[in-house]
Symmetry: C2
Subunit: 604 residues, 2 copies
């Protein structure tokens, strides 16, 4: 293809992306930014023999379109459709599942090592953004890969705009090396000059390379990446396709680890997205002409959390808020403006976020760490070792807890109940309504000690009436003299209560607000029932149902215990209501199950 044809192709790809994401929702800004980069990678490298690993793979749309999935692109993020992330089961061009950040260098380096062990000359390429570089795993992998003799290329996609505006010293360092083309030019100039002096020039180059001279320091150690053993190229304009191809070709020719610094513009080619890349990072359906998304997040649980935390922080100067690069997503934008000194965006660094919070707590401050359930998985050890062992009082605001829908397997918040429940001394609240979220946040901060988590789902309060008079009570028990107790917590409690009302049979309704630990008095109360049925939006392993069942059993419970939970499996993308229905956690399924249970109890 000619240069003009390629340019036209990029334009077509952008139009295609905008039109389709407007219909399906998805990650837009990052994908618009890497259209040329994706084409260049596929033109220079021989995929799928060479492996492309996309970090936090939501930037893989163009890659999917040009590797045979254009026709199915309208199914993106739909039930049974294309995944929004790389998925090896979908295509041999998708090498590694990447939904969480900062894993690409580890995976690509491993693939490069495997190629070498097999005697293959194939390449492995990691494409990683500057945001992902705030995660520690990048350094763990760079440290290993740097001086290896492998066919590895790391492409840094610098768009100065990860999900939240990128903060920290490393981002500034990147800005500094970006502004230093002079050294690179100097280096290139010297090498070129020496290239033109036959024999002697080559020797001088060698001498320079092996010397410890100051000149060498200037010429050959211009960046941290070079110090770590990578050949360094850049910065390159990420929207200049010929330049990209040229640099990638040179990097590939070296047959040793290379680091290519590419500058792109997030949202490139769609005015609204260029102006507001954060808004178009992950977006629902929107109107292409106006750029307006068709849902508002104003009354989401995240927003309510953020507002309430501001109100509490107004009165208490000990309250600090910490986020791992998700300021807007976790509802902390207002807090960050109002309490600048007490707001800490640590980058995509969940481990550091939790240990940092533990450090603040050791000084009697009141840290609240807001992280999505799925990303909190990365801080398991820090919660246990750095906070819980010392009973430090930190509050984990676990956003997107439960099924999340379109993002699928890699982002479901259905493991936090299980993994938090394995950490001694942790208290977990699981509110179902805005009012409960506020009251339980206050309780977590002031009337609970040690590590406290408060978990709430993506989306908003269903506008239900309240459970009980005290939204911070550990549980609400609505007893109608039934022989069956139906138990639940979180957002599906609404469906359960309605189901019980609808079937008009004597079934007692227990709604938990605090799910760990379960109070002995409550377990004792449940001993009286003939049947207990637990509806729970979490995997079965490590569920509250499992814990409760065990506590009842060792006390000698003689009734029947049933649990309806999600399976112990990875759950694919789909709309949340449909997934709840599939796993019998919707109101209609609950009614059916309760009727059956009730009928069986009566027969006895």
């Amino acid at each position: 293809m000619s240069e003009e044809e390629l340019e036209a192709l990029c334009g077509e790809l952008r139009d295609f992306l905008i039109t389709h994401v407007a219909r399906t929702g998805g990650h837009l800004a990052s994908n618009l930014g890497v259209v040329e980069l994706t084409l260049a990678l596929h033109r220079v490298f021989n995929t799928p023999h060479d492996s492309l690993v996309w970090d936090v793979g939501h930037q893989c749309y163009t890659h999917k379109i040009i590797t045979g999935r254009r026709d199915r692109f309208s199914t993106l993020r739909q039930p049974g459709g294309l995944s929004g992330f790389p998925k090896p089961l979908e295509s041999p061009y998708d090498v590694f599942v990447t939904g969480h950040s900062t894993t690409s260098i580890s995976a690509a380096y491993a693939i490069a090592c495997a190629n070498k062990l097999k005697g293959s000359d194939d390449y492995a390429v990691a494409v990683i953004g500057d945001g992902a570089f705030t995660g520690g795993m990048a350094y763990e992998a760079l440290n290993n890969a740097g001086r290896s003799k492998t066919n590895l290329v790391i492409v840094l996609n610098h768009n100065s705009m990860s999900i939240s505006k990128n903060v920290g010293a490393f981002a500034r360092y990147l800005a500094v090396i970006r502004s230093k083309p002079s050294y690179l030019r100097l280096k290139e100039w010297t090498e070129n000059a020496l290239d033109h002096i036959p024999v002697l020039g080559e020797r001088m180059k060698e001498a320079l390379r092996s010397s410890k001279s100051l000149l060498k320091f200037i010429l050959y150690h211009s960046t941290f990446f070079e110090e770590l053993g990578f050949a360094y190229f850049g910065p390159v304009d990420g929207h200049d396709l010929p330049a990209l191809e040229q640099v990638l070709t040179r990097a590939k020719a070296l047959h040793r680890p290379a680091f290519v610094y590419v500058e792109t513009t997030k949202g490139k080619g769609y005015e609204y997205a260029e102006k507001n890349p954060a808004v178009y990072h992950g977006i629902s359906r929107f109107d292409v002409e106006t750029g307006n998304p068709d849902v508002s997040l104003e009354d989401s649980f995240s927003a309510v959390f953020g507002q309430e935390l501001c109100e509490l922080a107004e009165k208490d100067s000990r309250i600090c808020a910490i986020t791992a690069a998700m300021k807007a997503g976790t509802g902390l934008t207002e807090f960050s403006g109002k309490f600048r000194n007490r707001f800490f965006d640590v980058g995509i660094a969940e481990q550091h976020a939790v240990t940092f919070a533990a450090g603040l707590a050791s000084q009697k401050l009141l840290p609240v760490v807001a992280i999505y359930s799925t990303f909190l998985q990365r801080a398991y050890d820090q919660i246990l070792h750095d906070a819980a062992i010392s009973r430090l009082h930190i509050v984990l605001a676990v956003d997107r807890a439960g099924l999340v829908g379109d993002d699928g397997e890699t982002h479901q918040g259905i493991y936090d109940v299980a993994f938090l429940g394995t950490i001694p001394g942790v208290t977990v609240y699981s509110p179902a309504t805005n009012r409960e979220l506020k009251a339980q946040l206050e309780k977590a901060l002031y009337r609970t000690d040690g590590v406290v988590a408060i978990r709430y789902p993506k989306g908003s309060d269903a506008g239900e009436e309240e459970f009980g008079s005290d939204p911070a009570a550990d549980w609400v028990f609505e007893q109608n003299g039934g022989r069956i107790a139906a138990v639940s917590y979180g957002r599906i409690s609404n469906s359960l209560r309605r189901a019980i009302q609808n079937i008009r049979r004597p079934v007692d309704f227990l709604k938990l607000n605090r799910i760990f630990p379960l109070e002995d008095a409550l377990v004792q109360q449940l001993m009286e029932y003939q049947r207990i049925i637990f509806f729970e939006e979490t995997e079965s392993a490590g569920s509250v149902a499992e814990r409760l069942c065990f506590q009842l059993s060792v006390k000698g419970f003689s009734g029947r215990f049933q649990a309806v939970t999600l399976p112990d499996a990875f759950i694919s993308q789909g709309k949340v209501p449909e997934l709840l229905k599939k796993y019998k956690l919707d109101q209609a399924s609950m009614e059916f199950i309760l009727r059956e249970e009730e009928a069986e109890t009566c027969q006895k």
Copy 2:
């Protein structure tokens, strides 16, 4: 104190350390290395107002001795005695619990922020080794702390010798900047020269600092740490007390983040330890004169694992071994020598280790990752997201699973059963003997798919006879027609079988080899029993007992279920046999409990 008196004090402290650790066991080499550094820190900083955070706190012995705990030092690591790690409950001079690596910068930076928020001028100091710098959290924290306006000093204790020999590009980088005193001297020389030119000199210094010139690059950006915003000092001889005090005083005077590079010799002052620092890293009791430890680790589970893996790797070139800076501890020394290309020591980087293994597995190699149970906690997300979602076949060799004894709370391997059990599709084997370990490792590699863990305790096979004829069977059921089934797995299975033999009553004995998942046929077999009693060396939350109880209950089990496990708590240091006795997991307690159960069953 005069310089001579201080030197004498250092000698005394070293003698004291050697004598005491020879009796109690503990970490010796690292402590001998930081005697002067500890004194210098305490002389320059005003502890406990200023906070000292020791990374992987096992180097805190001198710190403990000089902060009022000299008299109790003979109780180190003994039940009820001093902890081998910093412990705030023990002393106000211990600011933060640090048993796992690479947390100190996060914690110290948080303390520095807290001081600033409170308007205090107090300092926070992190002391971190070059080994810990292979962990990603260090960068996450540096990235945040670098350009902050806080009273923070980071001391890099470079002893070129973390637990395993330090590998990777960053270690080489440290060696490079260590060998570059010329630039530092040049910088100092220039500044000094300018200092002697009144008025104009100051202006020139300012101009230099704010310029973007090449000269500035040479003078002011000599290290990565300076690029990240730290004032950089070093390298300093870590055994030269006056020099240390001078540099720390200068760093403190700046009132902004400073990075001090200190060089020490591990094992300093004890010949055997200087020559073999890895042996004296963590050591049991030893003879001071000969340096000989009084236990041999030759037949430990770790050693057996290493030997077996070598035998398998001899026949199968796909097998790779990965360790996170614990080559000797995990028994992989022989493997690393024999199969250099297939051995990967990734540094103290458990996250990267697991994702790297997943990457190898994606290329159909057979990676085995050997990590201690307590450290594997840090790779929870990587196991789940990078390996299990894609059903990549990796083998986790989980060493030090169960109670570990003297290291206490921070190192107990009593959570892996629980957290591995929450990850969908993970298979877990738990051998009790050498023969089982070998057979189950083979089964994990060749007859199991997806993520497989094989967990084994610290120490060695008790030399028991074998359970059943097939050491790789998923379970062994010795049925004597009893109405009680007693269940266990791992090393305490030995005690349970002996207990059953001793009481001479009809109790059936079920030993599990595969603890997750539990096969339905087995659960079905257990439905027949009147009583089931489960003995388990893990926390109760997330235990196999809990899972089994739930599976039985939902099937309608009508018998009685009891479980004897460790409590859901952090368990302090103590000898393993004593701890097992305390929690009723020793043979005598088992006999007592079984007799009682049996008597109750007969009465019915």
